[in-house]
Every structure is written in C-alpha cells, then in structure tokens.
Homo-oligomer: 204 residues x 4
DNA sequence: TATGAATGAGTCTTCATTCAT
DNA sequence: CATGAATGAAGACTCATTCAT
C-alpha cells in the first residue's frame, strides 16, 4: 500500500508538472495535485513546504541550466571578448543554446509561460536584471584585459541583450520550432549580435 | 454627504488605479477598492460591471493609443517602405513613441506589468500577434508597390520586430527613463532597425 | 420626455411580461425591468410596491378568469348536477375552457411554469385546494337539492378532479396545442369525467 | 473534539434534510447548513461539491426508486400488457407503490415540493417525459407481441398517464395520507386506469 | 413624478495550509 | 509517514429596496 519514500516524491512532482503544463501555476490547486497523484493532501506537506516549493523543484534544473549558461559565458572563468569572432566558439554556443532548449523544453515553457502566481512569475525580469549585473562585471574585467577595445556600453544596452536572448527563447518555445528552425533562428540572432558588438567595440 | 454625478465614477477609477499600481490587478479586491474609495461595495457595481471593467476603463486610453500607433504606421493609409530612409520621418516617429510613453506612462506600466489575472493579462502576446498580422498585410501591399525591393521576410522575423519594440517600451517604463534617456534608446533602436531592414531589402 | 402616467405603468407591465416569459420570475431582476423598459429603477416603485406586485398585476386577469370559471360552475349560482348529462351544457363548457386558454394563453403559461420564486409559485396547489373547498360546498348543496343521488365522494376524489383539470391545462399549454387539438383533448377529458361522475352517482 | 469519519457526512446530510424540509432548497444557505450542523462552512466542501450535490445525495435513493419502479413495469423485462387484467399483478403493483411511498415519503416530498432552485427542480416534467419515452417503446414491443390488440395511443395520452400517476403521488404525499387511505386511492386509480386501457385496447 | 446614488445583507465557492491522531 | 478533518479568510458579485433631492 505504502509507496517507497522516493516514489511518492517523484509522483508528486510528475503529477504536478503535468497539471502545471495544462493549467498554469495558479490554475492548479493542492487538491488537484493530491487527487491526481493519489497522495493524501496533507501528506504532500511532508515532502514539500507548499505549492510554490513544488513548482520550484520542478523548475530547478531549468533555472540552474539558465544560470550555468550565463556563467559559462560571462562568469569569472567565462569567455574572453576576443572569442566572439571565433567561428568555432559561435558554433559551440549555438549548440549549447539548443541543448539547453532540447533538454529543458517542457520546464522552460512552464517557467516562461505558466509561472503566473508563483514566486517565479517575475523570472524574466529577474534573470535579465541579474544577467545585466553579471555581464557588466564581465565587461569590467574585459576592459581591464583588453584596454584597446571600446567597451563602454550603456547598462540599458547590455540589458536589452539579455532581453532579446529571452525573446528568442520564448519564440522558439511558444512556436514549438523544430531543431532545424531553432538552429537557424539562433544562428541568425547570434550573427547579428556578434556583428553588432564587434562594430561597436572597434568603433562604428 | 452625496457626491456629484461623475465624481464617484472618477473616484473609483482613481482609487483603483492607485491600488492596481501598488498591488497589481489580482492583488486588489473589490473590497479594497470600496474601502479605499469610500464607495459602498455594491454601489461600485452601479458604475462598472466588475473588476475587469474597471481595469479596462483605466487602460482604455493606453490600449487605444497603442492601436493607433500601429495603424498610423502599418494600416491601410500607413507609411511607405521608402520613408524608412527619410530622416524627418524617423524623427517624427521617435517623437510619436515618446509622446505615447509620456502620455500613458502610468497606464502602460499597469498594462505591461500589473495586468496578471485580468482579461488583458496576455496583452503582450495579443498585441504582437495582432501586429504581426497587420505588418504582414502591409508588407504585401509594399511588395506590390515596390517590386524592386526584396520583401520576403519570414513571419518569425516580423514577429520579432513587434516583440522588440515591446521590449523597448518595457525597458523605458520599468526603468523609468528620463525623456532624454528615452529618446536616446528609441533613436538607437530605430536606427538599428532601419539599417537592418534596408540591408535586407536591398540584398545583404 | 416624460411619458404620461398610464403609459409608464403599461410600459413596465409589458416589458416585465416579456422578460418573465423569457427567464421566469426569479430570473428577472428589477434592474432588468428598468433597463429594458427605460423606466428609472426607483421610479418603478412609484407604480408598484415591488417585483411581486408587478407579477401579480400581469397575472391578475388570468387568475381572475380561473376563479370566474370555477365560480360559474360550482359557485352559489353554479350549475346543477343534473346538467352534467346535457350535451349542450358540455359543449358550452368546452368552449369556455378554450376561450379561457385562448385569451390567457401567455399569462397562464407564466402562472403555471414561470412563477418560481413569486408569491404565486404555489398557485397550482392553492387553486386546487381552494377548488376542493368550493366544490365540496357545492356538493353539499346538490345533495340537499337532489337527495336521490349518491353524492358522498371523498375529499381526495374531488381534489383529484381539480388536479386533473389542471394537468389538462398544463399539457395544452406546454405543448402549444392548436385549437383543434385542444378541443379534442378537452372533450375527451370532459366525457371521461362526466361518465365517471354519472356512474358513481347512480351507483357503480 | 474530533468526530468519527462518517458522522460528519451524515450530520451534514441530516441537518440539510431537515432544513430543506422546512425552507426548501433555495431557502437554505450553506451558512445555515454550517451553523445548524456545526460543521465549518468550508469543511462542508470536503464532503460535497456544493449545495446541489448535498441535495442530490439526499434524494438519490428516492430518485433511484422512482426509476426502478418505472423500469420494473415498462423496461425491457417489464410486464406484459396481458398482465393488466391479472388481479394478483395489480395487488402487487399497489404494494409496490405503497412501499415506495412509505420508504421514501420524506425525500419524495422534498423532490416534489421543495426542489425549487436545484438541478432537480424540473423533476416532474423530466420524469414524465422520460416515462413517456420508455412507455412508448414498451408499447411498440407489446404491439409486436400482441397484434390482436389495439395499441395506437397518442403520445399525449401516454404522457397523461405518467402525469396522473405523479398526481396521485403528490396527493398522497401532500396530504400525508395514512396507509389505508393511500391504499384506497392507489387502488381506485389503478382500477380506473386498467379499465380505461382495457376498453381502449379491445375497442370502445 | 422622477432619478441617480446608496445600502447592506446576502449568495456560493475556493484556497493553501495546519492539526490531531 | 500518513490521513481525514478542520480552518478561516478571502474571493467576486447580486439583489430588492430605499433615500435624498
């Protein structure tokens, strides 16, 4: 009768994920989760602190992957500004984005479109704000390392980069683009972005 | 004791607007509006059909202004593709955007960031979708009028234009940019966009 | 601007009748009546004491006609038991019922099927109960006048007569029978009833 | 402090039943039920989906019994037309009706007289309509099995049979007839009905 | 007479969470 | 770990009616 510990936890998470996908965070009640998963309503609270924590648990991998992606590029050990013109680096970046989307497609959709009412409902602005800070700091480091480059972009400009990356993600996810289509869109976007930065850095 | 005709209506609207700004559409209850405005709860329903209608009434001017802006540029009597390179036209467009933002700053913020739970909660995607349709049709007309131009942009590309315009608005509003800053951002954005289109049209 | 006294009254009544027909007594609010009739909500109360009184006013003629019909047959100056076997009398009775239905079809439908929530919602049982009393008294008189007849019917039997008459009315009204169909149904019913009474009176 | 499992459910049902009997479905609010039963208002919703479901739960046995009765007589394995003249069969039928009434007296009264506003408020017409369909189909089968009989009754006539049976029930219930009185009324009614049918079938 | 404003009690239902066992 | 029971505040909205002018 009694399921093993881990099974229940997993059952709650899987059920919740399905429900959230269908009806969004606010549209799902704890009762729904209880009924659908077969786990007693109050027993759920033995595994999670509440609805929000369930949601965050589901989204954790996606959120982490987003953070990782940001850090891999603009963290302490991130790329150098000079790699921008390296075609191989770009190709790798496209692959990275695609992998991120492929792996977390479902949860990213939750995060982007179905988080209304949860503590992650402002993820878009939180991420872009955070990203702006990180990138600014990375810029500062790059400026020190490459004094010959013009790197005095406005905060707003940097912010818009994050926002636009987000837009691309949202487009790809909301239109359920195929791998090929996704690749094309990302490539186009990256090319545009890199070209833009290059020009601005060398003085356009 | 008895307030004059329109005063109550106005009082409800003003109170609601303040509350919505503070706590967002969902965060405000009809009770709140009643208490804060001093208008009896049920009496509110003599002026508005419900919470959503109050919200829409507040936002109506902003929504209308957005639609007008779209139509002035891409409607039946909208601009011609050839005007893109006209500096005067661009300057006027910048002014238009700025006027729109200046006039409707508060309500646009409501519309963009605080509409969760209302019938306008999907305004972003609704507007950009609608905009895409309008622009596609405008493109068709431009193609006929200017056969020499390459105007076979993908729907996704067109869609992204709308989205990005929205982003600009959101940036300006969420960071409460000053007039000067706003002008600079919009100008930069327009220049970028126009340059992009020009290149693509003449064959890049 | 101001309509003549009687016109407003009539306007309220006519509007209400239409609304009641569509949505039943409970389904119509005073606001509905006000909006639809163009008479200010509170002004209605200058003409009628409330919703119920409006309803009763509409139904008054039908209710009165029902009462008249009952009295013509079983009141102080009603028919004699002996007339039951008179074909002419029966024909006249059929005509009477049909006239009643023809004249008051709409309002009877209101009274029978749409009075839920009003003070007339129990009209069916009130009428049949009242009818039972009247008929019992009439019986008493007939017994005195015609001692040779067996007229000791149970109260319940008398009551059922009223109920069944009501059923006939309801059938005719709810199925919107044509004049011909209505006539046939009523005739059949009367014949059955008369035959039944005759047999019981002379000893079956 | 804590009541046992089923007690609460039962308590809600019993309290509600009493209240419904006094004030009818519409006249009873969930608050009333909560106060009277001592069960917290919202807690009630842990046991029932809403007021209507409480009502239906109370009436379920009576409704089912009505359906069963109909089916036992006119369903696929129902009686044959020829049994009408069988005295034993008739006696059994009387007993059945009486049992039905005895067992469900209270709830039938609710169903017939106090259901205004609930999803069962049209039970009378729904049952008689349904009954008409069932009986028509039964007639068709009887016609095939007994070609010698005249069985071409009009739909209206069949419908009236159902209605009249209902009337009997309503009479018995509304006047709280004793067992003896009930038996007499039902017997009389059945005799009348059977005699009627017999005559019509053999050609009157 | 006419009206716009106001009332206030009332409706059912939902919800995330906690408690006692 | 598991559960059924319980909570209590909150939600939007309706209605017939009355009041002040």
């Amino acid at each position: 009768m009694r399921e093993l510990n881990g099974n229940i936890r997993r059952s709650i998470l899987e059920t919740s994920e399905k429900l959230f996908q269908k009806k969004g965070f606010s549209g799902v009640s704890m009762r729904d989760i209880s009924k659908e998963s077969g786990v007693g309503l109050s027993n759920i609270y033995n595994y999670f602190r509440g609805k929000d924590e369930i949601f965050r648990n589901i989204l954790a991998p996606a959120v982490e992957a987003m953070e990782n992606m940001l850090m891999r590029h603009h963290g302490e050990d991130g790329m150098s500004m000079l790699m921008l013109t390296d075609d191989q680096y770009c190709a790798r970046t496209v692959t990275e984005y695609m992998t991120l989307i492929r792996r977390h497609r479902k949860t990213l959709k939750l995060l982007f479109f179905k988080a209304e009412g949860s503590s992650l409902s402002n993820y878009r602005s939180e991420f872009t704000d955070h990203s702006t800070v990180v990138v600014k700091e990375w810029m500062r480091r790059q400026r020190e390392a490459n004094p010959q480059l013009r790197l005095d972009f406005s905060e707003m400009f940097i912010h818009l980069q994050s926002v636009w990356l987000f837009d691309i993600f949202e487009e790809v996810l909301s239109h359920d683009l195929s791998a090929r289509e996704t690749e094309r869109v990302i490539q186009e976007y990256l090319r545009f972005e890199i070209e833009g930065w290059s020009k601005m850095m060398t003085g356009a």
